[in-house]
Amino acid sequence: MNPSLLLTLPLLLPLYGAVLCLLFWQRNQAQAVIAATVQLGLSISAGLLLYEVSQTGILTTQIGKWPAPFGITLVSDLFSALILVSASIVGIAVFLFSLQGLDSKRKKYGYYPLLLFLQMGVSGVCLTGDIFNLYVWFEVLLICCFALLALGGTKAQLEGTLKYVTINIFASGILLTGVGVVYSLYGSLNIAELALIVRQPDHPNLQLLTLCSVFFLTGFGIKSAIFPLFFWLPASYHTPPIAISAFIAGLISKIGIYTLIRLFTLVFIPKANFMLPMLLLLSALTMVIGVIGAAAQKDFRKILSFHIISQIGYMLMGLAIYTPLALAGSIYFIIHNILVKTNLFLVSGVVAQQHHTFSLKKLGGIYLKQPFLALLFLLSALALAGIPPLSGFWGKFMLAMGGFKAGNYGIVATSLCVSLVTLFSMTKIWNEVFWKAKPLKVSKPSGAIPAKSRYPKFLYMPVIFLMVFILLISLYAQPFINLAQQAANQLLYTNSYIEAVLKR
């Protein structure tokens, strides 16, 4: 297939979909139909892209036919294609959930177009090969997240969004200055060309590369919620309805880590300076503090939210170890986490729909009443905790193996300890929500959760849908691990990327 079509479809489909949704403003049925079509098309095109990339190697297209460093490049290697595919899967699941799991008011005020714009932003971030364009797509992501997080305007949402907005605008500013500095020092915006430039041993500004990387580490560090920069996440992710927070929590923070990996393998090679030990330290702290935070929570969604941070630490760990195996572990872990985290959020949504609360204290008895839901939760939770043969194990295993091979014993030890605490917090939810008998006091429906839907069982659909994929990458892990390893190799041996983009 024509690569320019393949590469632009993930951008164009949601964009056209969103435009159509805007034209059918406030007509929920029509918008749902449009969104459904787009989700389907998006996953097909992402799947085709992945297939094509795995068959023929890195694909590129030059927007506007302007040659490489001058026009904007869209480029897809295996890593981005994998992320896109998982994003589209999550998109379908969240869309299915929103059909019954979101109130019609929120849908009326732009839920579907916002979701589609958000997906467009995700595609843009994954596909772009230009550092300023990356910034632009991140802003698209950001504004969509703002709008979605505050959609509905409850007190908690507004409070959370305010913190999210402030800190993320700050991050965007830092990123923008970083882009300016990079352009000024190296005279290019094209990531591949930058990669080429920083690999010239005699470039006069090479010593300033670390300085540039600090901007991007901080900027994307904030967006991906690594240790001292994560505070917006636990403040905001648990406030909106599940149909929103599942997508944002499941996907968006991983997009930040995706970018970090992309830039720190291509441009800001951390090998030569203090960045690598720095990243190791950050990943360890992120893991530990995230998991401690999760252990302290007493709310279904808050546990899950805080947990994201800890898992981000794992993803950073692969980058910090900087070997193909560890990086493959990170990639696999990202995909696993996108699917599993979203699924856990969706489960919490199903639970909340019927019990009107997320508080561990008030929930209970689901194990007896809804054994199937309990099974779905248990599988996801164990996958998150990295119990073999579920997906989390593979990622963890590759990271641990990579860490040991590289001699980074400390970080592996930390990650294993953290994984125990993960098990602790997941089983805490299991104990309280599923095993414990339901407390007699029945809680009233509160704002963030829609009233009972007509087809409560329909909410199982997205959970089952995601579970199929989780089990697929768990039990039939080999092809995915293989892909992750190839992706990691593409990332670390940058020549193929540079050649594909610059055609040199």
């Binding site: 964009l15 435009v19 805007l22 506007g64």
Partner: protein, 181 residues
């Protein structure tokens, strides 16, 4: 703000501003200007109108269209009927023998959100043309004509026009919503 002079001035100035904004849009490719600046100027024209007259008035004046029509009477010629309709719609005169109760109208409201959608659609569609022709997205196509203000005609201009519409729609949407608060 609501002094009569000012509001009259704004009423008169708004179309001027709008024309100016279109001019800025069109010359943007060769001189300072372009879709953004044009769109912003155009929207600022509306903003002042909103500040002076309120959002509802602006919406009524600029963004809604009432089309009057009536069934053609058997004795009237086609030309006369046409004149009547034109009279009614453009000059606002809906008179005529036994006509008072026969006028029907169609009310069309252009919501700013449609402007946004249409602008975005225009912008992305101008890029898609290249894609459909088997070229990369946003590949430019130029017509071989040369116009005085515009210079050449091509898809990038379409793109810029989309930007113009979207910016205008966005600002209008915001201002309308805010002033109704």
């Amino acid at each position: 703000m609501k002094t009569i002079i000012l509001s009259t001035a704004i009423r008169l100035l708004t179309p001027v501003f709008l024309l100016f904004s279109v001019y800025i849009l069109l010359r943007g490719h060769n001189h300072p200007g372009g879709g953004f600046i044009g769109g912003l100027i155009g929207s600022i024209a509306f903003v002042f109108h909103v500040l002076a007259h309120g959002a509802n008035a602006t919406a009524r004046v600029f963004f809604s269209l009432t089309l009057y029509h009536h069934p053609r009477q058997s004795g009237h010629s086609r030309t006369r009927y046409f004149m009547q309709i034109m009279n009614a719609n453009i000059r606002g005169r809906r008179k005529g023998r036994n006509m008072e109760n026969r006028w029907n109208y169609i009310f069309v409201r252009v919501r700013p959100v449609y402007l946004i959608a249409f602008g975005l659609l225009l912008a992305v569609a101008s890029g898609t043309i290249g894609l459909l022709a088997g070229q990369p997205f946003m590949s430019a196509f130029w017509l071989d004509v040369h116009l005085p203000v515009l210079g050449s005609l091509g898809t990038p201009l379409l793109f810029d026009a989309g930007v113009y519409l979207l910016v205008m729609g966005m600002v209008l949407k915001m201002i309308f919503t805010m002033s109704k608060e």
